[in-house]
Amino acid sequence: MKEVPPKLPLRFFRWFCHPKLRDSIEGDLMELYEERRAKSGKVKADALFFKDVLLLFRPGIIRPAEGYQQLNNYGMLKNYLKISWRSLLKQKMYSFIKIGGFAIGVAACLLIALFIKDELSYDKHYANHKQLYRVLAVITENGDIKKGVAFPAPMALAVKEDFPEVVNTGRYNNSELFGAGASEVRAADAEDNAYDEGFVYFDQSLIDMLQLKFIYGNPQKALSQPGAIVITKRKADKYFPNEDPVGKALVVNNKADKPYTVGGVIEDFKSTSHLQFDFLIGMEGLEFWNGEQKTWDASNYATYIQVAEGTDAKSLEEKLSNGIIEKYYIPMMTKSGRSLDDVKKFFTETQAHLELQPINEIHLFSEGVDDKLNYGDIRIVWLFGGIALFILLIAAINFINLSTARSANRAKEVGLRKVVGSLRGNIINQFLSESVMFSAISFVLGLAIASIMLQYFNSISGKSISIPWMEWWFVPSLLGLSVVVGVIAGIYPSFYLSAFKPIQVLKGALTQGSKSSPLRSSLVIFQFTISIILLIGTMVIQKQMNFILNKKIGFEKDQVLLLQGTGTLGTQVVAFADELRATSHVVEVSTGDYLPVRGSKRNGNSFWNEGRENIDPNVTSQFWRVDPYYVNTLGLKIVEGRDFNRDLASDSSAIIINQKMAKELGGNMLGKRITNYGGLWTVIGIVEDFHYESLREDIRPIAMVLGTEASVLAVKLKAGDMSESIQSITTVWDKFAPHQPIRYSFLDDRYAAMYNDVQRMGKIFTSFSILAIVVACLGLFALSAFMVEQRSKEISVRLVLGASVNSVFQLLTWDFLRLVLISIVIAAPISWYMMSRWLEDYAYRTDIGWDVFVVSGITSVLIALITISFQSIKAAVMNPVKGLRSE
């Protein structure tokens, strides 16, 4: 009777052991067991058997986890990759174009994806951003929807008291009229002023709502004392290096008698916050004029509310809008003399109402809101996303076209594989894994390109994006994407290639791929359509930019220097201006607080003809305080009447208006008297309309009276050596303000800066259209090279039979050129439509014109022609023997 070893360890052994080794080792075990059993009995033999089995449980003997079946597949996969690699090396040029184009597409996509992610992440870092809303006033005037964020001072409190859903409300005021914006600053014990921007009046409650992070100071009480100020970390480091500034004094604009006391230091606002301030001045006990905090007449405060969790914002919005209008706005408006019916009519006509804007939508969905904050634009996000996708698509098309076009070269391989037993599925797998490999290589390359181009991209997009290598999701999602993109790009070629019939291809009957297939042609057309659209877009943007920079805008922006920070000179500013006029380089000097460029002071006001206040609708107008030299300095043109005269005392109640305002007030205004709430003015002059706002908007009414505010001086310089002029101005400045470095800018720069976004768009479009054209041309180049290769025998025969170089060239070129021409025809109307829509943003715009289409059409044809002719000339001048001798 055979002695049997214990079952359990034996089964365990059979389970884990590598099948190849199982029998022989098991035999050994049996033999040993028998031996031991005979020698030392069952118990000891069992124990030793058990020990032996346990000691056999080690790598080398345990079978591989995947088992046998997959071991084989892995071998196939290795073979696929090896063959892919070899064919990649064999066709260096084509591989380079496939991978290079793909890598460019991936890089563009990656950068834009990061851009979009950044744009979408705005204001999401505020802890309770889901409950925070900004109040918007929406009004429809003549079919245009206008949005405003400025509200009367008491509204925040009213909203909080009247609506139980609202937990908290807070305001800020960033209007220069009250001293927000830019100022000259120093710590109380320092001597020299420094210039800084980012001053704002801010409620303590808004700090609470946003939960700003404090480094020093008590977050709950930072602004609760009158005269308190909260500064950001970077400004604390600037003015109070290496110390805790809480309780220290900060002197703003030389007002040493009324310094601000630092109540706390907060972390810098994140770059993805729509609010970007550095100096938050507390509102406690502050009133800009008597009763200012109680009046509903003046709207200067951006107002934010925090609702209770679970509040339905839509229904609250309606309740709040109706409530506030009924309870406060209508009484305020009737109090000023208008009848109730009139006011009601105003509200129904204009559909004026309040909206609640979620704080994380502020950045992207604030089109039409003009409040000095920098917003993004959801349309740009879409546009960028679209462009990125299209560039990737163009690259993917190269991939598809080249793979199918060159299919003849792989046909024999496919045939042979099928003969030795590959199923169609296997071949599909092979080509899919090949394209995934290509895409993986391209992703690596694309990442490299993206990180090189990042700085350039940041400079044109105005962002500070970095590649998030360290984020947990980054590498896995790239890996996943490379597989997905690889599969998508490879799916058509792999089905196409795997469909070959082995008998046919091995007999050599296959000429597929050499003739241009309709699909391939339409893909080329698609590529070039996109490229041409981008090209036309670029040219239209360029044209509009030129239009803006060269348009007659009604004032002379050249040779005007803006001297900033003169507010600290106080009353000395007049003497300073006189001294400047005396220098030989200066033509004229004027106060320049109100300037016809963005970012300078504005003051909206309502005007009526005298005695018609409560009868006529008001004329909304800018109301600027200037000095007698203003018109001359800026070169405004007086069309009727006269300029201010400094010697006439009566001119203190004189007013100069523009043509638009004269028209809105009824025309023929010279010598008439008009009124706003503050005073009665005599029109002494009418000035030609000039563009004091962006060209996106129509020129609106404007009125100028004499005033003495001067925190900016506009200095008109003589043409000539600029550095010399600046030198002489600096000398005068240093005499008057030895403790404040001179700071100036130029009016034409400021004017151009208003259109930074256009220039940015232009640069982005240029970059992307170059990219798209490069990638498309790469594909065209490869395709034409391939065609020439395929038809080399035909060309040789033609040449032998007497075809001229010219005719061969034409033959080869026409095929592709035709496609480009079709693309132009398709691209022209699409781009015309798109660019007209873009230009609609501008009240003053260039027309697109036929020249844009002609120039871009010729450009694209030329580029394509150069690309193709490289190959076709090579083919046309070659020695026909070379093409024929292999026969």
């Binding site: 080792i25 050994d28 033999e31 040993l32 032996d52 080690r58």
Partner: protein, 112 residues
Amino acid sequence: MKKYQLGEFEEIVMLTIAILYKEAYGVAIKNEIESRLKRNVSMGAMHTALVRLEDKGYIRSHDGEPTEERMGRPKKYFQVTALGKRAMEYSRETRNALWGAIPDVSPNVKFS
């Protein structure tokens, strides 16, 4: 730079296979090592070494006839290949070279 990868235990196993010549299979090798070197050899250690040696190409194997005392399992016989022989020789030469390089005067080298 190592020309031949051969561990100490692997070398012993190979030498034993060479000694046993035609009769080198699992249990025989184990018993031979145990009796000659007076050390315990576990099945696991020995079979791992055999697998590794075969992977390296130093030994090759063929299955013998199934026998009754092994409950019908075949014996797997091992044989040293030419490459294996060279590896063994190489290892022996390097040792000899090292032995030869020990100077006679060195008083500290005492072996027990």
